[in-house]
């Protein structure tokens, strides 16, 4: 055998790590410390208002959550919020993406409109919805009244359920674009000949959707699910501006509670603990999604 002086190219693993190095470097440099720090803080009694009372308390913050009424109620609200918002977003986004994937007059316009809610800064978005849902001068009231659907202006956000549903609606409007874009871009990668083949194989529109589109879209769907879950769990701007978490605790989500704890009560320790609970929950859910969908959607063309 000849001894080879050739330089061997990197193996897949080495190559992969080399390719990931820049991203890992940036992330490690910028967020590793804050993340570690925040976890450390979550093990502290640490209220910025009382720097002298700061001390390490281990998992006490976490332990206290178990009997923290506000936390448990916020967790419940958040869970419900995630379910409602995620469900609506995914269904609507999928339909809209499918519509946008067709050719028709005004498609470019509709696509740009679909991006519109995304371009709106959260604060503006929140205030916009407030002027719409306003009990006294709101556009929704005005519209419904002019359409003859209601007699008097309603205070939509004063009942627990009302506040919850309307907040969810505003949130959906706001998060729809991301899902639409990801799903649409996913759709555009499906070779049309697969639809041809499926059509010839006697699959009607619905079956083509379930048998060709969905399997192909599983991975984009996975991102959408993960990110929208994450977003819904962290939804803050819209809720804060629309209801401030009220009435009572009806829309106090865990994210709202967290922001309030950190920024308003300056309880950094407890706030960080909340944050890590959110992290753990979203991570678990994401891993569950990945477990369910990743393999099924994993294929090579």
């Amino acid at each position: 055998m000849v001894a080879f002086a050739e330089r061997r190219p990197l193996g897949d693993t080495a190559k992969a790590w080399a390719l990931n190095a820049p991203a890992i470097a940036v992330i490690a440099l910028l967020v590793a410390y804050p993340i570690a720090y925040s976890f450390y803080v979550s093990l502290q009694k640490n209220n910025l208002k009382r720097p002298r009372a700061k001390r390490f308390i281990g998992f006490d913050n976490y332990r206290s959550l178990l009997s923290d009424h506000a936390f448990l109620s916020a967790l419940k609200v958040s869970a419900l919020f995630v379910v409602v918002v995620l469900g609506l977003t995914v269904v609507l986004a999928l339909i809209l993406a499918l519509v946008l994937n067709e050719r028709f007059h005004g498609r470019g316009l509709l696509l740009s409109l679909a991006l519109l809610p995304w371009a709106m800064p959260g604060v503006v978005n929140g205030l916009m919805w407030r002027t719409i849902f306003d009990a006294k001068t709101g556009a929704l009231n005005g519209l419904l009244q002019q359409l003859g659907l209601i007699d008097d202006y309603h205070a939509w956000l004063t009942s627990g359920t009302g506040a919850f549903l309307f907040t969810a609606l505003a949130q959906v409007w706001n998060t729809l674009p991301f899902s639409v874009i990801i799903l649409l871009a996913g759709l555009s990668t499906i070779p049309s000949e697969l639809y041809d083949a499926a059509t010839v194989d006697r699959a009607g529109a619905w079956r083509r959707f379930t048998q060709v589109t969905v399997p192909w879209l599983l991975h984009p769907l996975l991102i959408v699910l993960i990110l929208e879950t994450m977003n819904a769990f962290r939804a803050f701007d819209t809720i804060y501006v629309l209801t401030g978490g009220g009435p009572g605790d009806a829309t106090t989500t865990i994210a709202l509670l967290d922001v309030q704890t950190v920024l308003t009560f300056t309880d950094f320790g407890l706030g960080s603990a909340y944050a890590w609970v959110i992290t753990a929950i979203t991570l678990l859910i994401s891993v569950a999604y990945i477990g369910l969908l990743y393999r099924k959607g994993n294929f090579d063309v």
């Binding site: 209220n47 910025l48 208002k49 009382r50 720097p51 002298r52 009372a53 849902f133 306003d134 009990a135 006294k136 001068t137 008097d152 202006y153 205070a155 939509w156 956000l157 004063t158 506040a163 209801t243 401030g244 978490g245 009220g246 009435p247 009572g248 605790d249 309030q260 920024l263 308003t264 009560f265 300056t266």
Partner: protein, 416 residues
Amino acid sequence: SGKSSSGGGSGDGSVKFEGWDYEAALVQQNLDRFTKTSNIKVDYTPITSAQYVQKVVAEFTGGGGPDALYVYDDSLAAWVDGDYLQPLDGMAGVDEIYDAIYPGNAQAMTYDGKRYGLPYYTDANCLTYNAGILAKAGISKPPASLEELEAQALKIKNAGLLQYPIGLPAQLSDTWWSWVWALVFGSGGNMFDDQQNPIMNTSDTVTKDVFSWLQQAATKSKVIDPASLQLLPVPVDNAMKANRYAYTIGARYASRDYNDPAKSKAAGKIRMALVPSLDGKEHATVSNTRMYGLAKDTEVKDNAFKLLTYLGGYDDQKQPYTAKFWFLQRGLGFAYKKMVDDPTIVAALRKFADPKIYAHLAEIAKPRNVLGVPWYTEFETEMHKVVQGVLSNQTQPSAAVDSLAQTAGTLKKKYS
């Protein structure tokens, strides 16, 4: 400009100054004048008001705080405990200033016996009413008692003038609900004793009675707008300006806009009155104070204090120049007792309020006495939720005060 990132000064004696972003352009204008006269450069950064406290806290925590800054009375205690601020006792002119201002304001700027601020502006709560609507219902005098308020409102309601004559900003938010405190103080009550122990469910029944009245007015006689739960101060203002409420309780300041023909359809008809009380007698009202504070580790203490004096104290002519400036420009309430005698000020005041009542409110106003406890913000937040429960008939007044007392107890323990 203004990128000095280390705490206190940047070497040339300039003062790093921060405030929330209310009328930042005017602030800058005023500061330019200061720089011109004193030769001290001011490096001014306005910060979004909604996040002012958080950002200042972050800066002080990170070591990049300003030399002088705006301080809310709500934050004073925390910022002193957090070692952000230093007392002004013993510095030139401070005593003089404290003597010249209303006692409520002086009290608000004092913590643990030390004085920490010079007044920026102040305000007191009052009953604001629309005399035009009242007149239409045949009412000539504002109510002195809550009972009367309810009766008048009912009259307006029954006359078909308004479905809900009273509007209150009762949506959850991070700012305090001054009207609740105004009602309690207005009837001579308090929620805490001087040792900051809760008394609202024991020795002092005012809170509970006020809650009872609120519940009654909201759910029985239905004169308080149920939409209040969805209203922040601005929408309430808008409704007042649009003649859609006859009464609200809030800061005196708002009347200026209410009576501005350019902005309001109710212009000229809005009046101020003392906060109605349970017994119809005159007691007090609640005030708030915004002040200028001095950072603890500023390296340009002298210059910063000069700036503070310019902004919150007297000028060469022994006049509170900046306070006057603000009142004339934007109608911001002042802490100086004497100012109400100033003819230019009276003239300006007349455009939107009765100067006498305006001044009287300032005199009887007092700050919340629990501002000094570290858990005040949490308590206030919880209070909002409880009051929402009361207004929507989900919590009974006695249960409400019990719950408030319990919250206070829990928080106290948590922070001990």
